[in-house]
């Protein structure tokens, strides 16, 4: 891909993360997406190097081509131009059957084997009396159990990167080595952890996460300082490539109001929201 050499210069961190997520995806992949960065990444991939990528959303939608920003996995945008609308259990059953190449998952804690916690931060308490109750698994446990490969997105912070998570909501490699397979899980497990500072990958044998690339301007030491285990590092740590000009152009069309990649929802009024939708329709129709 010649275009991938034309790297953008003026981009922000969320835009870099979207591009990084997009790079995890291959043409022809069926991707089980959640909202936010992963979904933007899937759309960018589909509109650049992976035109045959199929998005699946757990509300029961397969292959949509939405002409507006997707505001949830059950948003109306998910039915736009879909190739199949069905039910939640069927989508997950299809994933368990092995049809989904990639799943995108997040959490509040991750550990060195890629296990994720999105259920409860125990703090001084426990599962029943947590310091912080999180939303729960949602579909994350299912994705992590059955997708051929999973891509994790989570901010890099010491309190989040643990030797062992408080609670395994979504299985990574459990205790490493072949323990995931022994547990009977059909999916392949995590292939990357994309953070705001770097990207981790997993040792093929031990299944332990190691630092693979740092984002431009981030040092290996800074990463180490934000991981609470003795982090392994690739022999040659790469620099995460920035978004290409083309990727950036598309990100800014799709998320024209910067809901995921800039200001979030805080400046959104009802008027500006309706205008956003109407403007999106015209611009995004051109893209697909």
């Amino acid at each position: 891909m010649a275009e991938s050499q034309n790297f953008a210069r003026d981009y922000n961190l969320p835009e870099l993360l979207v591009a990084a997520a997009a790079r995890e995806l291959r043409d022809g992949d069926v991707v089980f997406v959640g909202v936010g960065v992963p979904l933007l990444g899937a759309l960018v991939a589909k509109l650049t190097h992976a035109p045959n990528l199929i998005m699946a959303m757990e509300s029961g939608s397969v292959g949509p081509m939405p002409y507006r920003i997707v505001l949830g996995i059950g948003d109306n945008a998910c039915v736009e131009n879909a190739i199949c609308t069905t039910s939640l259990w069927r989508l997950f059953a299809d994933q368990q059957r092995g049809y989904f190449d990639v799943g995108m998952v997040g959490g509040a804690q991750v550990d060195k084997y890629g296990n994720l916690n999105s259920t409860a931060i125990f703090g001084s308490g426990d599962y029943y009396h947590p310091a912080s109750r999180l939303p729960g698994s949602g579909g994350a446990n299912d994705i992590a159990s059955s997708a051929h490969r999973t891509v994790i997105t989570i901010p890099l912070e010491k309190r989040r990167f643990l030797e062992r998570v408080d609670y395994i909501t979504s299985p990574g490699y459990l205790d490493g080595y072949n323990s995931r397979k022994k547990a009977g899980l059909p999916g392949g497990g995590p292939v990357a952890i994309i953070t705001n500072k770097c990207i981790f990958r997993f040792d093929p044998e031990t299944k332990e996460a190691y630092l693979d690339s740092v984002h431009p301007g981030v040092s290996v030491e800074e990463v180490r300082a934000n991981v609470s285990w003795d982090l392994k590092v690739a022999p040659e740590v790469k620099v995460t490539p920035p978004p290409t000009e083309e990727q950036l152009r598309i990100i800014r069309i799709i998320d024209r109001a910067g809901i995921y990649t800039n200001n979030g929802l805080k400046n959104l009024t009802f008027e500006s929201y309706i205008q956003l939708l109407e403007g999106s329709l015209e611009e995004l129709q051109q893209l697909f």
């Binding site: 909202v35 936010g36 959303m57 757990e58 509300s59 029961g60 939608s61 939405p66 505001l71 949830g72 996995i73 059950g74 948003d75 109306n76 945008a77 998910c78 039915v79 736009e80 879909a82 609308t85 069905t86 039910s87 939640l88 259990w89 997950f92 994933q95 368990q96 259920t119 409860a120 947590p130 912080s132 109750r133 939303p135 729960g136 698994s137 949602g138 579909g139 994350a140 446990n141 299912d142 159990s145 059955s146 395994i168 909501t169 979504s170 299985p171 323990s179 995931r180 009977g184 899980l185 059909p186 929802l265 959104l268 009024t269 009802f270 929201y273 309706i274 939708l277 109407e278 329709l281």
Partner: protein
């Protein structure tokens, strides 16, 4: 002849107030349709307005109904996979209840979205459990004794089992229904088809009531045949501020404002006073939101998705 039960009635229409009063009893186990969108909002407000108590909620990701009901003190227990408003924000009431017992402590039993879906499918099929490859290796079975693991008697491979869900009441919002309860859905239906079959009593609400002749023109769209349904209620905009595919767009600016209020207990209580107890019915809520606003959400949606059957 006399029909033996309400599922045999040929005209099941009633108001939302009547349906909730008739079919939801204190102590019941309840389940709502919707996932991401198509949330049962009108229904949750009406349950709160009627002062129902000690309900158990079973659901995949029943964010709006779950958070509202737990905040209003209606729930004693939740068997769920997720409770949060996703892009718009967190489920503050759910967090306050679990973390601080406000307004009172609740029991929570954790599943995943798929396995809650399987629990409804098992209930719909009238079998006591279904097997899955989810949950294996994770900590969900560790803290939930009703998730069992077993060796498959055919191959020896490991499977997890989840128990059938058989709620007392299911409340499901659909695109359209006839008065007999032949409920049809455009677009995805999350677990609706199994919810209605898993539950003992079923309230269908819909954006529009249509004739049985119209139902017969598109039999593929029927997710709940009349023999599963006890009550049919026409409730336009029942999901506001959530989205209803082919009908109206997500009113996320409204949701942002709502969740800003929910951040504090006081804010939530004030919200309920205004938007739930301050009106008599969902018509009052819609009036308060403003018909012009609702109409604009409908009009903008039509530009993106339109029913072509």
């Amino acid at each position: 002849m006399e029909f033996m039960n309400t599922k045999k009635k040929t005209d099941k229409r009633m108001t939302l107030k009547e349906a909730i009063a008739t079919f939801v009893e204190d102590g019941d186990t309840i389940a709502f349709g919707g996932m991401g969108g198509i949330q049962c909002v009108a229904h949750a407000y009406e349950i709160i307005r009627q002062g129902k108590r000690n309900l158990t909620l079973i659901g995949d990701s029943p964010c709006e109904a779950g958070d509202l009901l737990v905040g209003a003190g209606v729930l004693k227990r939740m068997e769920i996979a997720w409770c949060s408003y996703a892009v718009a924000g967190l489920a503050y009431n759910f967090r306050r209840a679990v973390e601080k017992g406000i307004p009172h402590p609740i029991e929570v039993e954790d599943y995943s979205n798929f396995t809650i879906g399987l629990r409804f499918l098992a209930g719909a099929m009238n079998v006591p459990f279904l097997p899955t490859k989810s949950l294996l290796g994770s900590d969900l079975p560790k803290y939930n004794a009703r998730i069992k693991t077993m060796d498959d008697p055919y191959t020896g491979e490991k499977v997890a089992l989840v128990p059938a869900a058989r709620p007392d009441v299911a409340i499901v919002h659909v695109s359209r229904s006839d008065k007999r309860g032949n409920a049809q859905m455009f677009g995805f239906s999350s677990n609706a088809e199994n919810l209605v079959r898993a539950a003992k009593k079923v309230i269908i609400t819909c954006e529009e009531i249509v004739s049985t002749d119209e139902v017969r023109r598109h039999p593929n769209l029927t997710i709940a045949p009349e023999y599963t349904v006890d009550a049919v209620v026409e409730v336009p905009f029942a999901c506001h501020p959530w989205n209803m595919p082919y009908y109206y767009a997500y009113d996320i600016p409204f949701h942002v404002q709502q969740l800003a209020a929910f951040r504090t207990r006081e804010g939530f209580e004030k919200w309920l006073d205004e938007w739930c107890f301050g009106v008599d019915s969902w018509e009052g809520y819609m009036e308060k939101v403003g018909w012009d606003r609702l109409e604009r959400l409908r009009r903008v949606e039509r530009r993106f998705t339109h029913i072509s059957c």
